[in-house]
């Protein structure tokens, strides 16, 4: 029956001992041969072995007795099972007893020693076996090892304890000696030494069972499966710090891949490694990991699942999240950051980080208010709409998820009534709503800081604009009481008195104008002759309106003597324009041709500087462009930077971009005050040079920030588009822009226009597709609609620039934009770039040029006397 015999062996090999035994019994009954008996004993042995492995030692022992009785010839083959039973029952006497015999055959000795090496783990039991004398080397070795093992697992040990001279190299317990030394090295953090001792452990020995746990504990085997006992050992004695550090490092690397799968896997590993860390560290790690995941736009519920739940929403976490959202520099993220900052504030107050209405509260509220100002109104409206939809009645009380900047500024100023906070609040109020809002802010400022002049000056300006002259004067007096010598107060007084005099002249009330001029003459001068010149110019109009020819001549002579012919002409022209006086009194004409270029330039600049100081726009005649341009190119120009900037601003106001550009060229060539000249250049560039405009603005902004010129920086920010405001400018790019702009000395012409080299670095509207965002190091959302591989349209097919209608439209647009002031033309270009219909964009800007519809009360006043546009003086 060779097939059946083979089948029995197969079943034994497959550890199907029960079936093997049944088949072997059948075979033995039918054959009764020695071969079938040997096979049956083998099957019994396999069955007893399986029973022992299942922990059924009693059953195994009974079966072994039956087999031994039935097949006495097989007793020698069953000895191994005897030893196994001895070992399991802890009765090692019978097992090691034969070793007492010095004449034990080497083969038997080897068999017992192999068994000890492979199966005995109870060293104290072995050390106490009564079948061997106490001085027997095996007992002595076991005793020494048991003590050493106990010691190395409980605390640091001396090298003397590890010497273990009782354990010889040939001892069946030699691997235990290596194990004891490996454990000691492990706790001493001598990993190389530990590995050396682990290598000395025999592979088939009992101590070898600890090698996988060791490697895991030393951080060289992560992610392997361990038995419960091994997991307990790793947890209890493992190097938790190293494992966690390695897991966290792996997570950091996974974040760099920006792939959700590897990140989540690394998170889970890190979470497992965190089990033995203290609660505070674990929570901090979970919070930081969750925030990192948020910035990478990973699905929050998946992340929380990988992290074993949402991290604790305490002030620390909320602050971290808010800062991370802010750093993304996207409108939506900024809105989210503002919401989270508000949550942080509530939580921080609850956790006693700071108190409500304390300094920190003020600083935080100011910060959030500034963030809110950056959020486009449509996003704010969207969030408010969602808020209305989701709000549970009574849940949040009166608090909004997204508070208005006004409320935030109010809170900031209440908590920290600093000058800067009020200044920011007022600045926001001026832009945000009707004049009452800003006036209320100024009144709050006055109450909180009664010694500050700024709210008074603002109120004075606001009231003057609304023709509330008496109130305006009252505030001026209050400002003078506070600080009469303050240059801002002096300047405000001059502007107010000048505006009043012009208004009286327009109304033909020369007696009132004269009284005002006398008051104006009392204002201290910054530069000699300026106030006298203004007074002479105003008196010239009084004489012209009265009329008084003798006084007219006298005042004209006075004026020309003080300012010179050129500046006198420009000043009279500016007053005529400002007060609509040209019809009633025509200023004397000026022949430019006989005047030398340098003299024309000096006179013009004198008028520009005076106009800038007095808030009176000086308009430069177009016919003066060429001589002024020629004068600017003269070597050793007589003008200082302030004068040049005043000329540049006047050129911009007069719509002479070429002259303004020439001023910026001359200014940049000097190499000082680059920020202001770059900003001037940005504003005089044609609308189609949008990249250069942004480049100049960004460079000017960076320089202004370095010079801590907040006033200039604020103006530049107003000029920059939303997408460019937070954009950092590397130093090398700043240098490149400055160098190239210094080289570009002529105003660009459309037909010959070439973008400067730095334009390649500047994209006016950075592409928002995932590839470009990833290239820029910005987070990419896996669910981004951009990820769709199929483009909705083909640029070249659907946007054919050679289409005849398009060319015509562009030509007409070019003509319209050429007629608009440069700043408005820039606005139109921006709107078109942002995707707005060109016709709508132009109409919107033209609407802004139309006078505002007056309220009913204003209409009534207007019926009495036509109101001058005095606001332009401020």
């Amino acid at each position: 029956m060779p097939e059946e015999s083979e089948r029995v062996r197969e079943l034994i090999a497959g550890r199907h001992s029960k079936a093997a035994l049944q088949l072997a019994k059948d075979l033995f009954k039918r054959c009764g041969s020695a071969e079938s008996e040997a096979l049956l004993v083998c099957a019994y042995k396999a069955r007893i072995d399986d029973l022992l492995k299942l922990g059924l030692s009693v059953e195994a022992k009974a079966l072994l007795g039956i087999v031994r009785d039935r097949f006495p010839a097989a007793a020698a083959r069953l000895e191994e099972l005897d030893r196994e039973i001895y070992a399991i029952e802890g009765r090692l006497e019978g097992l090691v007893g034969p070793l007492r015999d010095a004449n034990l055959p080497a083969e038997d000795r080897d068999r017992i020693e192999t068994f000890i090496r492979q199966r005995i783990y109870d060293l104290p039991a072995l050390a106490g076996v009564s079948s061997l004398p106490p001085e027997h080397p095996l007992r002595e070795a076991a005793s020494a090892l048991a003590s050493a093992f106990q010691a190395v697992t409980q605390g640091p040990v001396d090298d003397a304890l590890l010497a273990l001279p009782e354990v010889s190299r040939r001892s069946p317990l030699a691997s235990w000696k290596a194990l004891v030394r490996a454990i000691a090295s492990y706790h001493r953090r001598e990993d190389e030494e530990c590995r050396k001792w682990l290598q000395a452990i025999a592979d088939d020995s009992v101590p070898a069972r600890l090698i996988p746990s060791f490697t895991a504990m030393m951080g060289t085997r992560n992610g392997a499966k361990f038995s419960p006992a091994e997991q307990m050992l790793i947890a209890a004695a493992g190097d938790a710090g190293a494992a966690l550090c390695s897991a966290v490092k792996a997570l950091e690397e996974a974040f760099k891949t920006r792939k959700q799968g590897p990140i989540l896997d690394a998170m889970r590993t890190a979470l497992a490694a965190m089990r033995h860390t203290d609660n505070a560290t674990r929570e901090r790690l979970r919070q930081h990991i969750a925030v990192r995941a948020t910035t990478q736009h990973l699905n929050s519920s998946t992340v929380y699942a990988a992290l074993g739940g949402q991290p604790r929403l305490d002030a620390y976490y909320l602050r971290l999240l808010a800062r991370a959202l802010e750093e993304q520099r996207l409108a939506e993220s900024t809105a989210e950051a503002a919401i989270v900052w508000e949550d942080f504030r509530r939580q921080a107050i609850k956790e006693n980080w700071f108190t409500a209405d304390g300094l920190e509260d003020g600083v935080l509220s100011l910060h959030v208010a500034q963030l809110m100002e950056k959020i486009p109104p449509e996003i704010v409206a969207e969030i408010r709409e969602e808020e209305r939809f989701y709000r549970t009645p009574g849940k949040r009380g009166h608090e909004e998820v997204l508070p208005s900047p006004g409320r935030l500024y109010e809170r900031a100023c209440k908590a920290d009534p600093s000058f800067e906070a009020f200044q920011m609040w007022l600045s926001w109020a001026k832009k945000a709503g009707p004049w009452q809002v800003a006036d209320n802010v100024a009144e709050s400022w006055r109450k909180a800081r009664p010694k500050d002049i700024q709210p008074l000056l603002y109120l004075m300006e606001s009231e003057e604009k609304r023709s509330a002259y008496k109130k305006s004067l009252k505030h001026l007096e209050e400002a003078e009481e506070l600080d009469r010598l303050n240059p801002e107060v002096r300047r405000a007084k001059l502007r107010l008195l000048l505006a009043a005099a012009i208004r009286h002249l327009r109304q033909g009330k020369t007696h009132l104008a004269k009284a005002g001029i006398e008051q104006l003459e009392s204002v201290p001068e910054v530069r000699p002759g300026e106030v006298a010149a203004l007074a002479a110019a105003l008196r010239w109009y009084c004489a012209a309106l009265d009329p008084d020819p003798a006084d007219l001549l006298r005042q004209e002579a006075n004026l020309k003597r003080t300012l010179g012919d050129v500046a006198a002409y420009l000043l009279l022209a500016a007053l005529a324009k400002e007060g609509d006086l040209g019809v009633k009194a025509t200023p004397p004409l000026l022949q430019v041709s006989p005047i030398a270029a340098a003299e024309l330039l000096t006179g013009t600049v004198k008028a520009c500087v005076l106009g800038q100081w007095a808030g009176l726009p000086i308009l430069l005649p177009r016919s003066w462009n060429n001589p002024l341009l020629a004068a600017l190119k003269l070597p050793r120009g007589p003008l200082d930077e302030a004068q040049m900037l005043a000329l540049g601003e006047a050129a911009l106001d007069s719509g002479s971009a070429e002259l303004a550009y020439a001023v910026s060229t001359a200014g940049l060539a000097r190499g000082t005050a680059n920020a202001r000249f770059l900003f001037l250049r940005a504003r005089c560039l044609p609308q189609w040079a949008a990249l250069r405009h942004d480049g100049c603005c960004l460079a000017a902004l960076e320089l202004a920030r370095r010079e801590r010129d907040t006033d200039l920086a604020g103006k530049i920010l107003d000029q920059l588009g939303e997408d460019q405001r937070g954009r950092p400018l590397p130093p090398e790019l700043l240098s490149q822009i400055l160098e190239e702009e210094q080289e570009l000395k002529e105003i660009p012409v459309y037909q010959r226009y070439r973008e400067p080299k730095y334009a390649a670095e500047l994209e006016s509207s950075p592409c928002d597709c995932p590839k470009c965002r990833a290239r820029r190091g910005e987070p990419v959302d896996a669910s981004d609609p951009w990820n769709d591989d199929e483009d909705d349209f083909d640029d070249e097919d659907d946007f054919d620039q050679t289409e005849p209608g398009f060319a015509d439209l562009m030509n007409r647009l070019e003509r319209i934009l050429g007629k608009l002031p440069p700043e408005l033309a820039q606005q139109v270009t921006r709107a078109i770039t942002a995707g707005e219909d060109p016709v709508t964009a132009v109409n919107k800007v033209i609407d802004k040029l139309r006078p505002e519809r007056a309220s009913s009360s204003q209409k009534t006043k207007a019926a009495k006397a036509p109101l001058p546009v005095q606001g332009s003086l401020f």
């Binding site: 093992f149 504990m217 038995s227 050992l233 950091e252 700071f354 300094l359 920190e360 600083v363 910060h367």
Partner: protein, 102 residues
């Protein structure tokens, strides 16, 4: 730069004071640091110390630092600094449990 100089991002560490230090303690620490790093001998260190003091002397700037100085780029490993990295002695029990298991 002195390798022992703490990171400039933390003015408290630069001056070597606790976060609860009052104005007098801050000033005293600043004076001590200036003596340690005089501007003529250690200009870079002095600049660090002066910047740190500028942040902490002004209550508003100090509050701004407290609220907004979160280093988002700091590696996650930095959170583990100061945690217990010892290999714990678990006693013979867990070791024997593995030895018995197979």
């Amino acid at each position: 730069m002195n390798p022992e100089t703490p990171p400039a991002s933390d003015p408290y560490a630069v001056l070597g004071i606790s976060r609860n230090a009052d104005d007098d303690q801050t000033r005293a620490a600043y004076v001590a640091k200036v003596k340690q790093f005089p501007p003529d001998r250690s200009p870079a260190e002095f600049e660090l110390v002066r910047d740190a003091y500028d942040v902490l002397r002004d209550r508003r700037r100090r509050a701004q630092h407290t609220l907004f100085s979160v280093d988002l780029e700091a590696p996650l490993q930095s959170l583990l600094e100061g945690t217990d990295n010892d290999r714990r002695f678990a006693g013979p029990g867990p070791w024997l449990a593995v030895l018995k298991e197979k």
